[in-house]
Assembly symmetry: C2
Homo-oligomer: 476 residues x 2
């Protein structure tokens, strides 16, 4: 039985049409922008004969709400046109005949990972140079490394490895900083496109407080951003540009203003760093004396939620800053590995959640040392425990909360990504945990062990937007 | 040129005879127990013709002192009778002709890892049940799991996997808790012997505050310990028993007294837990009102350095307790992963070092979640950074310090283990980091990346006491 959904007087969300295939899912949901809808039964319509839906059978685990897992043992996910039709415990529950049923046996099927903050241009420095705090570390290790990306051959070697590693660890969507260099940023975008993986890629903009090799004029920055926007800013594209002023200390007022204007003119999202380190915060106070707090400085330039915005770290965000983040729907990229490696501190992730602030996780290579968002989840839980030890009313993250943050909450930055609810893009990982599964574990324990003990060897298949993603090439 | 070393009036340390082969190494060393020595030149003696020394060629990295690495690019380690003859940058530097030169090309050669605190009987629970603090966690998750080891078939399945995982992560020496069960403890010891890996294995002793299935009488405990000591207590053996009262709250005074007496009677080492959790410390104060501090309770029963002793955690050890540990040469098994997972706190590792207290690292499965001592090193460094953020005079651990703790400092509990200095047992790992080595790294950066980014796939060959250790069998 297939229903056809007819919209009358609707300001139509372009994603909603996927509910065609399973209108049941509409009944219990609010869909914004659809004022009236009429459902006609059209069984035996042409929809019935297309048979373009695939069913994936496995032990399905995902989060709809942060407080618990949805678990369907030996269940089915229906996928059509790259999107989830629905999840059910029986193939008969779907109104369509599937084109194909792919049976993953006793494996787990979970949403793929999203990395909300990472520096592709620091990939070579992953796991080294862990002996300084942020500002010194940037000058001594990071800026000299990023300068190498003026050479596109070097960029090709590093970026192809970077994309390969994201793939390896099941990260299908990434918000990444490249470097200041236009050509190698373009190359990184091409590598993502070739891989079939989703990414928002930022050419870094900066015009002060760095080494000469990384500085650019405002005009150069604007022209480079403009070029990438012209080439890549397809709202349906998997790979898109994101306006990326490095952080306040690296940008003049003119640079920040230009970035904000471009973001709003072209409706391009924004990413940057916020309240990471006490030395940095003091410096921002000096550089932007008119701003009431660090986030306010971004806000005054139109870089704080005027278009969708990610701010990395936010370790010391509080009070007015948190309140503005909530109002402006700014997403925190929580980077617990980096925050500990660079002696930054422990971000108040429970406060983010309690205040209704969106959060995703970031590997933050190379402040962070681990590309695996599973491992970053573990660090997020662990650091929330240290926070809980200090502030007893701030309960530590549960596993489902960490998972929800890494998948559905983070994924919302890319559209409907990170869950298996109807209409979500099918970004998924098939987990073969057979080598870990010798102890009569429940399904959520198996997931927990994959996250805490497993690694990329346990990821058998990766999907992004419904497509199985083969191993990307490493280029030399 | 080979020298023969003749000992006159010597109370001879059984390890010293290896210096026969390279008397140069004696000159700069104190060798306890050798009062006089005469060296005759005996070139062309029979020693020259035995040719039993092997040379291993690779990029050699180890620590003699904690503050820096010894690095020999494309160097040689000479090994005879399971022990290091010396390290040199040329094969000609050795006085003997080698029987064989094994060339590992551009790979790294480092000392193997030592795990100073781990619960083999909790192996199944690795990576699950991370939502409680110590005392509740023991009652809810840990004791019921350990009770299963009354079944030797279950023990065989779990312990063979446990030993296999130690092997996988390059841990060649382990101080481990088994469970209270004699038969399965014996089985674990046999699995270690079969694998060729070094271990001190403790049958857990406990007679109160647990579930009935785990409680034993003092007489039963004494008889079981006695049996294992009779079978296994060869001072040269790779696998040896270690007296293991679980911790003060699990043991009556009679049990603690009996354990202390056995340790001293048979000169067997001791391991237990100390000052891990504030609730536990309060409980010990109640249970042992006559003890001035937690460590004093062990001390009064002869379990605090009267024979070589490991105390796990010591997160809240300070003042008199630290002072007694130093005096008694008690080794701390620092377990940073466990300390964060169970919301225990951050151990003052810099204070241990500053006070001259010996430290090793422990994975503490299943309070800890990661079997890799490399990863435990990373956590040790990271937690020392959090500590440093709070106490600015307590500098965080350098990489060489963490490495020294995990290898030479920990290894000292097993004899001369954990370094490549002359006379040390050759416990070593050959690291094939070629897949990580694309960025023009120095040798110590390559080691750092192996520790932070690599995993067991990068361990190509493992040696324990000079023997190459093949992959142990997993039994079902």
């Amino acid at each position: 039985m297939v229903y056809k959904l007819v919209l009358i007087d609707a300001c139509f969300d372009p994603l909603s049409y996927y509910f065609f295939l399973n209108p049941h899912s509409i009944v219990n949901k609010k869909i914004h922008g659809i004022k009236n809808l009429v459902i006609f039964a059209t069984s035996n319509s042409s929809y019935n004969h297309r048979q373009t839906m695939k069913l994936y059978k496995a032990n399905i685990i995902f989060t709809r709400e942060k407080d618990h897992f949805e678990v369907v043992e030996h269940g089915y996910v229906g996928v059509e046109n790259g999107r989830v039709v629905d999840v059910a415990s029986s193939a008969d529950a779907f109104d369509q005949q599937p084109e194909e049923i792919i049976d993953y046996g006793d494996r787990l099927l979970i949403p793929a990972m999203n990395d909300m903050h990472v520096h592709a241009g620091q990939y070579r420095n992953q796991g080294i140079s862990m002996d300084m705090e942020l500002l010194e570390w940037l000058n001594n290790y990071t800026f000299p490394e990023e300068a190498k990306f003026s050479d596109t051959r070097y960029a090709r070697r590093m970026y192809s490895r970077f994309v390969h590693d994201l793939w390896r660890f099941g990260t299908m969507r990434t918000a990444t900083f490249a470097t200041t260099h236009l050509e190698s940023t373009r190359l990184l975008m091409e590598l993502f496109r070739e891989a079939g993986m989703g990414a928002m890629v930022g050419k870094v903009n900066m015009d002060c407080n760095s080494i000469d090799a990384l500085l650019e004029s405002v005009d150069e920055a604007v022209a480079a951003n403009e070029a990438l926007i012209a080439e890549w800013n397809d709202p349906d594209g998997l790979v898109r540009p994101i306006i990326t002023p490095r952080f306040i200390p690296s940008c003049s007022s003119a640079m920040l203003r230009a970035c904000g204007e471009q973001a709003q003119k072209y409706q391009v999202p924004v990413q940057s760093h916020l309240s990471e380190n006490l030395g940095e915060i003091a410096l921002v106070r000096e550089l932007e004396p008119e701003s009431r707090f660090y986030g306010d400085a971004y806000d005054r330039y139109g870089l704080f939620g005027q278009t969708p915005t990610i701010m990395a770290h936010c370790v010391f965000s509080e009070g007015e800053e948190l309140e503005l983040m909530r109002r402006r729907n700014v997403m925190v990229a929580h980077c617990p590995t980096s925050n500990i490696n660079l002696i930054t501190g422990i971000a108040p992730i429970r406060s983010f959640l309690d205040n209704g602030i969106k959060v995703g996780l970031g590997s933050d290579i190379s402040g962070g040392h681990d590309m695996s968002i599973m491992r970053v989840m573990v660090y997020a839980i662990q650091q929330s425990k240290l926070y809980n030890q200090k502030y007893r009313d701030k309960h530590f993250l549960s596993l489902s909360e960490a998972f929800w943050i890494a998948t559905k909450s983070a994924g919302s930055f890319f559209g409907r990504v990170g869950s298996f609810e109807p209409g979500y893009e099918f970004d998924a990982l098939v987990i073969d945990d057979s080598s870990l599964n010798y102890g009569n574990y429940t399904l959520t324990q198996r997931l927990e062990r994959f996250i805490y003990v497993g690694d990329d060897r346990h990821i058998a298949v990766r999907f992004c937007r419904g497509q199985e993603i083969p191993e990307p090439r490493i280029l030399d």
